[in-house]
Structures are given as C-alpha cells and as structure tokens.
Symmetry: C3
Subunit: 274 residues, 3 copies
C-alpha cells in the first residue's frame, strides 16, 4: 500500500510521522510529498494536495497543516471515489484534492483509540493520531471502525473567493506562490477566455493589475505564453500552469518578489489596449 | 531491516549516504529522518534522535553532526537495549537517544576496513565510514567484527546544564528551537511542579525570565496550557512539548524570534505573582 | 530497479515526479538525491550528479535543472558504460556524471508519446516527460523505443573553463559552493602539485587570490590540510574535497560568505612566499 505525507513541519517531524507508519505498516511504500508547506498556510497545502495526488498511486494520503492541533477541530479520514483515503484535520485542507479525485465517497471522524498511539500529546497529532490512523488504513482497517461517519457537506471548506468574470476583465485571488516564486491564481484558462472574449489566448497581451504594498495601484502588461522560455530571462508572462490554473511568472526569476504580490492578494487581468 | 539517517548535511550529501546504504543493502528500508539539523549543532542533533527514535522501527540509525570529521574523534556503533544500533561520531550525539531506548548495551569502535569504502576521504566519513558500517550492520554483521569494544562510560557525553529546581523558580537551558521557532527546554513538567509547589500546572501563569541580547533582563508572563490554540494567535504560552520537555511557544508564531532567545541560553520560570 | 531524482524544484514538485515513477513502476526503489539544487544552476546540478552517482546503485537517474523547459531543448536518455541511464534535458547537466560512470554508451531523444503522460504541459516536463520515461526504462523499456538515437558528441556540454597550470600558480573556476559554504574548484590535487612543483602538498601554505565584489584584488594565505579540523574553528584551509576536486573551506564556517566568492568566480592558487 502507498502512503504519502504532506506537512508544514519541516524534515524531522514529518519523518517521525513516516517512522510511525513504517513501525505499524512495515511493507507500506512511504513518500514524503512535502515537508515544506508554508507554516499554517492551509490554502497552500490544499492546493499542493490537489496538484499532486492525481499523479500519485491510489493510496492513503496524510495532509497536515493544523494550526488548531489539540483544540476541538476534528481529525478525519476522507475516502475519495478514486479509492484514496485522505487523512488530516477538518479545516478545508483535504477537500479540493478529494473533489478532484472523483469526489468524496465517505467521511469518518478519527475517534478510535486503537488507531492512535497509546499516549496522545496536545501538540503533535501528526505523530499520535494521523500517522497511526493512516498506517492502519493502509493495512486494511475498515473505515467504519475508525469512528463515526460524518456527512460530506459537514466538512469545513476553504474560504477562497471565486474568480469573477467581468466585461473584459477577470478578478481572481492569488492561491499560493510556487517554489520559483510564480503566482498561482484561482481561475482557469476558460475564465480568462470568457472575460476577454477570445477563444485563443496564445500571443495575447494581458494587463495584470493589483494594489502594491503601499496601497497604490500597479499594472504590468505581459504576453500570454505556453512556457517561461517564450519570453527573455527576467521578463514576466501569463500562462496556464501545470495544474490548469492561470499563473503569472518571471522567466528564471520570482514573480512574487518582482511584483510584490503575496498569497491572498487579489489581482485583475485585462486585455491590453496599448 | 530499517535504516534511518539524520545529518546536518542538507539534502544531497545525506542522500549520497542513503545511496551507499542502498548499494550495500538493497533490501533495506531507508528513511532520511533529517537532513536539516543546524550545522555543527550536536545538542540539537542529539535531541532530534532522542525525540524521534522511539517512534521509528528498531533498526540501524545513523546520526552525523561531526565538526571533528577526519580528526581523532572516534567513529562508533552504540547498541541499545531495545535492539537498535546507533552509528556516528563519538561526540555525545548518540548518547541521549540510546539512554531512552532502554540504555546502552554495547559500544564498538568502527575500525574494520572491510566495513568502510575502499578509499576514505578526510572530510566525508558519512559516506565513507558511517554509511557502509550501517549497511553492513543492517545486513547482519556481528558487532564484534566492526572493531574493538569500548566501555559505555568511556563515550563522550553532552555538556548540558541540569535543570535547577529552586524555591519557587526553575532555571533551565534552551536545548534547541524546533521548526516553528518554539523553545525546547532542558527540564520536565515534574521539575516545574516541584519548583512551583503545584501538583497541577494547567491554568497556572508562569513568568519566563531571561537576559536579552543587549544584556538587559527581560520577562514575559504566559499561561501554562496543553496546546498552542489555547491562547490567541500571536500569544506566548508555556507547555509540555510532545517529547516530555517543557517548552515556550507562540501560537502560530516563533517564540525564538519574538523573545530573542537562542539555543544555549538559560531561562528562569517563576510563578506569576501579579 | 533503482531510480534517483535530482532537481532544483524543492520538495513537492520533486515528490510529484517520484509519485509518477511509483505509479508506473510500483516496485522501483526511489531516492530523492536532491530537491535543493540552486535554481537554474546547471553546473551545480551537473557537479552534484558527478559527485553522487558513483555512490548510488546502477539505475535510472533523473536530473532536472531545466530553464529551457517547453522550448526546443531536447529531452534525452544517456546510457553509461556502467549501465545507468541518465534522464533529463540536453543542456550539459548529465554529461560530467556520464563521463565518470565509464563514459557515454548511447544517447536517445525522448520522443515516444507512449512513455509520456497523456497530456504534456508546457512547464512541468519533470512530471510529464522525464519521470514517465525514467519509470518505463526502470521497467525495462528498450532504449531504442524511446526515440531516435543521437550521437554522443552531439550533446550540449557545459562551458566551464579548464584549470590553467602556470609557473607557480594555478588558475581555476569555482564550480559551486556546498551546503556548508565550502568552495569546490574546477581542478585537482595533481594540477596544484604540478603548478607548485611539489609532490606532496600536505603542510604547504597556499595563497588564494581573487577579485572582491568591489573589483579590488584580495588574497588570503591558508594551509593545505586533509580535513577541516586540522585548523582552528573559523580558520580557512585548502584541501582535496571528497570528490577529488580542490576546495577552500573555513572550519565550522562558510568560505563563500567569509571570502565573498561565488560560483562562476575565478581564483588563483600560489605558493606562499611569506
């Protein structure tokens, strides 16, 4: 059975969770998908899982970005229609990936003390609650034995603004910045096509508009291209990223640093009239 | 057989050691426990091993933070009563974990050239000495063939001040800061209970006192809680961490940065009279 | 079969590539050799592969530092005389390692859509092109089915200046800085012996000369030693590094930061007349 782990813990605490899985399920293949999610960044973690899990084997996938550890937030196992089980806190982290993996089949609360470590700390549920549950599920534990079943629509969902398709403009949130500093936007190519009234975006110039850290409006005009190297090194571009989101990047550079835009900011894309 | 690696090397040099293990013992399960130990921070590495190994399968565990590589410090294999073999430099790194894993059963010096790579460099014993020894032990090599047996009390030990339980105050060292910037202190809940004369700490307010970088005394009063989320985001707390150490953290923030306290500093905890 | 991955992607995008390999070749042993290569640093990546692969099992080794992703640069598989297959972009990254693994046996372009994911993005060929090719090669795919065979001397090679052995001096490039900030130089011990007219370097003092960031010439005299700990903490030394390159390091410190020298700089080593 295949088990993946994605956390905002850094290397060692993530590997301790992997060690718990190896201890309980010695034959599982264990992959650390990420130990580098931005700390407490639930949206970034959710988008990582959504981006990655379609490319991983069907398996048990732990996702932990858990600022509410030890409080009343619920630990859950979310079974997908594809056959995966996503294990983590009920704070929205697991939902976008589950929806992409065919949708949510069942949700169970992780209550059963037999599937926890004997002593559960107040601050490290990755080790004490989520990793043992994931390992037991990988070993074939029946999901009904984990704890009470919950309604799928009872899960906490992420609070991300939807893209707004207007007359000639598209307003959308910055979901996260990737390892290269590229901005991943909460809208798709079809949204931009609809907003601009263009079937084909390649070669179009787009104006990116946002509010700078000083409160002043800023804009930059960029071409819509299929890859970074279509513009000179150091130049910005708009593109469809490898997950199907719209993106703004700088070839061989960091758009986040260059433009001063951060996750959670809202930006507008318009046709370039110039 | 299970082999773990913990180093201050970063990703690639740690993975080269893993590659050596895979080359010699292709069926071993190999886990990088950490490649992110602070460089040359022996105490931090020792505390990582102590915190992690109880949650890993019984196996061979390499620990390498080795500022004395290539000098006269001894390479050793420390067998624990639990059945693990800890492999690394004799500089104190392996001792606290071995003591927690039932205690030290045997110690051998790694002398045998058959269990080293053919050519041993002056600067990369992780690759040339420790990884091949770990792999051969994982394959079942008799510990007596590694090299001469040493007395356990001949091992170098860490120089960490013990917690001082005084009248109404507890003085203790900062062992290390974790990935979130939380301070892990060299004392336990029972020490604080004894110092404050309180059987139950939950809900107590504690004054944390230390000397700032400018030499001036500083204090902050914090509640003793069971988890971060028991205080508002950005607020400090005192708690028992997931390894049983006392800790000082900031909910969704970094106590190390907020308070200006670093590993090796000494702090005092007192009852809040206010 | 053994598969390694080395990228400048950071943790999550590298792990997605590993997930693709696990999906296609579930029994492969997969090692992330590095996800920390400096972004766009092809020479650093090439030197990592050259340094690491001799210590890894014979296998399929993906190397991806690919500023030209999605442009006309060619994706290739380079078979070595040792029996490895190196998979990555044709930008020089794979050549030095292949030469060290016995030399290049064959080169194939990765053209066959059966060994790619069904949909190939413009920006993530690690996931869509290289990982599936690596997995299919690990499963035993005949290299001739990957795509057209290319001449080995048609591969792009790195543009690194050769060491210049002069009368009493050696001029060489800084290839990269390692995790500790040590400078790895593009020349070998024998080059320095030849330049200085010395059969034995141990104990010799060497003058390191370079041009500072301000354009001014700088020098520092350092001993040639076999390991860091042969000089006091904080002191610089010259040595043969664990890959056989000449190096300049600071014991328990960073030579790159201390001396202000960066990859791509050129330095001169001379005998110390003082």
């Amino acid at each position: 059975m295949f088990v993946s782990l994605s956390t905002d813990f850094g290397a060692s605490s993530t590997a301790i969770c992997a060690g718990v899985v190896h201890s309980i399920a010695p034959r599982a293949t264990v992959l650390v998908l990420s130990d580098e999610i931005g700390q407490y960044r639930i949206v970034e973690g959710a988008m990582l899982l959504r981006r990655a899990l379609p490319y991983l084997p069907v398996g048990v996938h732990m996702g932990i970005v858990d600022p509410g550890v030890g409080t009343s937030r619920r630990p859950v196992a979310v079974e997908t229609v594809r056959g995966d089980v996503l294990v983590g806190p009920d704070n929205g982290l697991l939902v976008p990936a589950a929806e992409l993996l065919g949708g949510i089949a069942t949700v169970h609360r992780l209550d059963n003390p037999d599937y926890r470590l004997p002593r559960v700390s107040g601050t490290f549920h990755g080790r004490d609650v989520f990793a043992p549950a994931a390992a037991h599920i990988a070993l074939g534990a029946d999901l009904d034995t984990l704890g009470v079943e919950l309604a799928a629509d009872d899960l906490v969902t992420l609070d991300i603004p939807a893209p707004q398709v207007g007359e000639g403009e598209l307003v959308l949130p910055v979901l996260y910045t990737d390892e290269f500093g590229s901005l991943v936007l909460g809208g798709e190519r079809a949204d931009l096509s609809a907003a601009l009234g263009l079937r084909e975006l390649a070669g179009t110039r787009v104006v990116v508009a946002w509010t700078g850290p000083d409160g002043e409006p800023r804009t930059v005009a960029v071409p819509f291209e299929h890859t970074y190297g279509a513009v000179p090194a150091g130049q910005p571009l708009c593109y469809e990223d490898s997950s199907g989101w719209l993106g703004v990047a700088v070839n061989q550079g960091s758009a986040a640093r260059r433009l001063g835009i951060a996750p959670g900011d809202v930006i507008t894309l318009r046709a370039d009239q110039g």
